[in-house]
């Protein structure tokens, strides 16, 4: 439990970050956390996380911005919802994780591949109205750079096999009808989210 900080100087509580996070749409609800640890014992990927959800919320409280936004916790979250259904305080942890991801991206805190994938996927949906695997891949590699493409080559057998079975279309699908409207819907949703957060 004692490994949140490295230096022996006392951790200073910083109210600003706590306030910043608690004013996001779902982060607000994480204020109710009573540190019971139910989420931590429920989470299947907790062992891969830098901090369990419980500890992450405690770090938020203490105002440890770098630790929180730089942590892999939200990226390791598989959105399985186990913690959300078990949290005695009814905190929608999965949604809190989404807010944390947004915040980490917006404030340039991330280099996790998952983050690049999220962004690639979204860009694709925003531009086309549907996900095209080839497009997502291209965007992902562009973000991640050459090292990642090398890795992709190692997976070429799998790719070929998928191609053969028609699981990986070569040609991009058509953009959906009414893409404009979809984009408007998304924009509106984002505006609402920002408003909720206030």
């Amino acid at each position: 439990m004692a490994d949140n900080n490295v230096s022996s100087a006392p951790i200073k509580y910083d109210h600003n970050f706590a306030q910043e996070f608690f004013s996001t749409e779902n982060g607000r609800l994480a204020q109710k956390c009573m540190q019971c640890g139910m989420c931590a014992v429920s989470c299947a990927t907790k062992d891969l996380m830098d901090h369990s959800p419980r500890r992450l919320f405690n770090l938020v409280r203490a105002g440890k911005k770098d630790e929180v936004l730089g942590s892999n916790t939200m990226w390791m979250c598989t959105s399985c919802c186990t913690c959300k259904v078990r949290c005695p305080r009814g905190i929608p942890l999965v949604d809190v994780m989404h807010d944390l991801k947004n915040m980490a991206i917006a404030q340039n805190y991330v280099s996790y591949p998952q983050a690049a994938f999220y962004q690639a996927f979204w860009q694709e949906v925003l531009n086309r109205g549907r996900a095209f695997e080839g497009g997502v891949m291209a965007r992902y590699y562009l973000k991640r750079g050459w090292g990642e493409i090398k890795k992709a080559f190692e997976m070429k057998d799998l790719g070929m096999s998928m191609l053969k079975h028609g699981r990986l279309p070569m040609v991009p699908p058509r953009k959906i009808k009414g893409l404009k409207e979809l984009q408007q819907i998304i924009e509106k949703a984002q505006a609402l989210q920002r408003k909720e957060a206030k």
Binding site: A2, Y13, R28, Q31, R61
Partner: protein, 724 residues
């Protein structure tokens, strides 16, 4: 009263199959010459009841002996009105459900119980209730705070006259000292106005409530139904007669001067919860006491003095909720303000979970931590050093404007033992031989049976409510006051009928003293756990029957054996002991007598039967009102009769006692330590008499307890007094 005994033996519930009922009937009719002896297939069925009723009317039977189930069941079926005595022989739970059927020893056991009960009836008389003179049903409430006002209103609304005494010049108590209160109603999230005016108005508007403010109790004499209370008022002394008393004098904050380690007294901006209330009331908002600037960073330190072996070892129970409330003051005036609560555990019990969540949602930060020190930082602001237990690391909160200590509470009944008696706090000034105030158990809170009778103090008719009873928040105090008012009402109503209050509620018997033989030894006056017996100048006991709870401790204590109840006395139990048939030594059938307390041990024994647990066939059980009523002469009787061992089963004693009469089992233990003398005189091993603690849940342990005791007795061999 000429007694005519009718014995009715039930054959139901397996009794008929396991026992020779006719032989049992003969014990009653031949040995004890009972004029009416009948058997019945199912005695509690309408036919059975009818059978008895016919004899009551036709035969003039007025003492009914029911041989069947335990006295703890079906008592309503076998209630034939106040003129008919009823005794029970427990053949079901104590014999056929614990012993093998159709067995010589089982039959002997059943016959012994029949003999014992019939022997008891020899001296049995119909209790006549004690009705005091000039009884009052009015209720005195001491303390005009939230609990006191609630108790007064509840009792008055139930139709009783109420006298409310408050030492301050106005009603309201703690409510007068606070800016807002924690919510008392759903949704338990909003701060509430203390609303003293409306509460006081309700009291003043109630024609049944008479209020004395600026008044204290000069003395309380008398007994339930007949308390004469002298009140010191601004206009001189007045005396009121009341039937029962609710003590609702609350608590006071723990002395913060003792909290120097948390910066109190050292820094002006370290204050107590009460001081914060004062400050907000005066300034309209939370400010730094030193500069009167609005506070934007506030730290609350929970358990300041509480849950601390150096200070108050207990949880003060209300300070978590109070700090949550005060944290919300800060958030209300400035949502951006930083508020930190350093806690051990948040104990916002019951509905206050919602209040806690509300504070969290308003941005109050709760930190589970051990606060290590408070220091002065830059600009005269404070810094809190703590060990954050969730982070597992030292932490620092700096630039704090105000530090608020949740300094807990001590009961108003706490007496400073270091002061000379005349300077000690006195509230009730009881004219009781056993001292002027309520006996306390620990930490100055009035002693009460915490599990079963929380409101009843050790002075019958005086009920403690609110934070004087134990630390509690306002919501609990309201509930407590309502409960205590109900208890006070029960007390005056029962007293008016000559009945005991808890735990023997409804009991009409009371101890009678054959004064001509009293030696003024003072044992009874000293040992009565409830201070029921006063004394005159010559040390003659002066019993107060309405203070009495009918435990029989005085009866057990009296070396002259001059105290008895109409239906419970030293000779009655002595006769039961003597009625046991003790087989000759060569028959190798030892006998062990068990005196079992009716409150827990007897139910546990019954439950052993209900669960068909088998225990030794050598035991004979006699129920007693409380082990405190054990008179050593019974042990003597048993030993000289040739009984091989005596086992006492009673409630746990000590600080976390379960004894329903609080001191009874403890006193029995003390008496027992003296019994060895007697046994030595008889040339017997003192371990032949032993005491064991059992609670109602221990029924499964009963066979083992008995078994172990019998093994021990068998080691000693048979009682050499057999056959003498």
């Amino acid at each position: 009263m000429a007694k005519k005994v009718g014995v009715y033996i039930c054959k139901g519930c397996g009794i008929g199959e396991a026992l020779d009922v006719d032989a049992l009937a003969k014990v009653a009719s031949k040995e004890y010459k009972a004029p009416v002896v009948k058997t019945c297939d199912v005695l509690c069925a309408p036919e059975g009841i009818e059978l008895i009723k016919q004899d009551l009317a036709g035969e003039g039977v007025n003492l009914v002996v029911i041989a069947g189930c335990s006295a703890r069941v079906n008592y309503d079926h076998f209630d034939f009105g106040p003129e008919i005595l009823v005794e029970r022989v427990n053949l079901r739970e104590q014999v056929v459900w614990t012993q093998p059927p159709d067995d010589e020893d089982t039959q002997m056991m059943a016959e012994d119980y029949m003999r014992m009960t019939l022997a008891k009836t020899k001296n049995l008389e119909l209790p006549e209730p004690f009705i005091g003179e000039n009884l009052s049903k009015a209720i005195l409430v001491v303390g005009g705070g939230l609990a006191g006002m609630t108790a007064a209103l509840e009792a008055a609304n139930a139709g009783h006259q109420v006298i409310l005494v408050e030492k301050e010049s106005a009603l309201g108590g703690w409510l007068n000292k606070v800016y807002k209160i924690a919510p008392l109603a759903a949704p338990f999230t909003e701060l509430q106005d203390p609303d003293v005016e409306a509460r006081v108005q309700a009291i003043n508007d109630n024609p049944r409530i008479k209020v004395y403010t600026g008044a204290t109790i000069a003395s309380t004499a008398g007994a339930p139904g007949m308390f004469d209370v002298t009140i010191n008022t601004a206009g001189g002394e007045v005396t009121e007669r009341v039937g029962a008393i609710v003590l609702a004098t609350g608590a006071r904050p723990y002395d913060p001067e003792k909290l120097g380690h948390l910066g109190y007294g050292q820094f002006a901006d370290v204050i107590t919860q009460a001081q914060l209330e004062e400050l907000v009331k005066a300034e309209g908002k939370v400010v730094r006491p030193s500069s009167k600037e609005e506070a934007v960073k506030v730290a609350f330190i929970q358990c300041a003095g509480s849950r601390d072996p150096e200070h108050l070892p207990y949880c003060s129970a209300a300070c978590c909720v109070e700090s949550i409330k005060q944290a919300l003051y800060v958030k209300e005036q400035n949502p951006e303000a930083a508020v930190y609560v350093f806690y051990k555990d948040i104990r916002s019990s019951g509905q206050y979970e919602h209040f806690y969540k509300q504070a969290q949602m308003q941005g109050v930060v709760f930190v589970k931590a051990d606060v290590e020190s408070i220091e002065e930082g830059e600009g005269g602001k404070l810094a809190v050093n703590a060990q954050d237990l969730m982070m597992g690391a030292p932490t620092l909160l700096d630039e704090v404007d105000v530090v608020v200590l949740a300094n807990g509470m001590v009961p108003s009944t706490l007496v400073d033992e270091n002061l000379p008696p005349e300077e000690q706090t006195r509230i009730l000034n009881l004219k009781y031989r056993q001292g002027p105030e309520l006996p306390t158990l620990k930490y100055g809170f009035p002693d009460s049976h915490f599990i079963c009778f929380p409101y009843e103090t050790r002075r019958t008719g005086i009920y403690a409510a609110g934070s004087v009873r134990r630390p509690m928040d306002m919501l609990q105090a309201v509930e407590d006051a309502t409960g205590a008012a109900l208890k006070a009402i029960q007390c005056v109503e029962m007293t008016a009928r000559g009945m005991a209050v808890h735990p023997r509620s409804g009991d009409l018997s009371f101890p009678e003293f054959m004064m001509s033989r009293c030696t003024q030894c003072k044992r009874c006056t000293e040992e009565c756990p409830f201070g029921a017996i006063n004394e005159d100048e010559k040390a003659n006991p002066l019993p107060n029957p309405t203070r009495c709870r009918r435990c029989g401790t005085c009866m057990g204590a009296c070396p002259e054996r001059i105290i008895s109840f109409k239906n419970y006395s030293v000779p009655m139990i002595g006769n039961m002991v003597k009625a046991i048939e003790v087989p000759e030594e060569d028959e190798e059938k030892p006998r062990v007598l068990i005196f079992a307390c009716e409150n827990d041990a007897i139910p546990a024994l019954d439950m052993a039967g209900i669960n068909r647990l088998n225990y030794s066939k050598w035991v004979r059980i006699i129920p007693v009102r409380c082990l405190g009523s054990l008179n050593l002469v019974w042990v003597n009787d048993a030993m000289s009769k040739g009984i091989d061992g005596v086992l006492l089963l009673g409630c746990k004693h000590g600080d976390d006692y379960q004894c329903h009469f609080m001191k009874g089992s403890e006193l029995a233990g003390i008496r027992l330590s003296k019994v060895s003398e007697t046994l030595d005189r008889l040339g017997l091993e003192s371990e032949r008499v032993q005491m064991e603690e059992v609670s109602i849940m221990d029924y499964d342990k009963i066979p083992g307890i008995i078994e172990r005791f019998i093994e021990k007795i068998e080691e000693f061999g048979p009682n050499p007094m057999k056959g003498f």
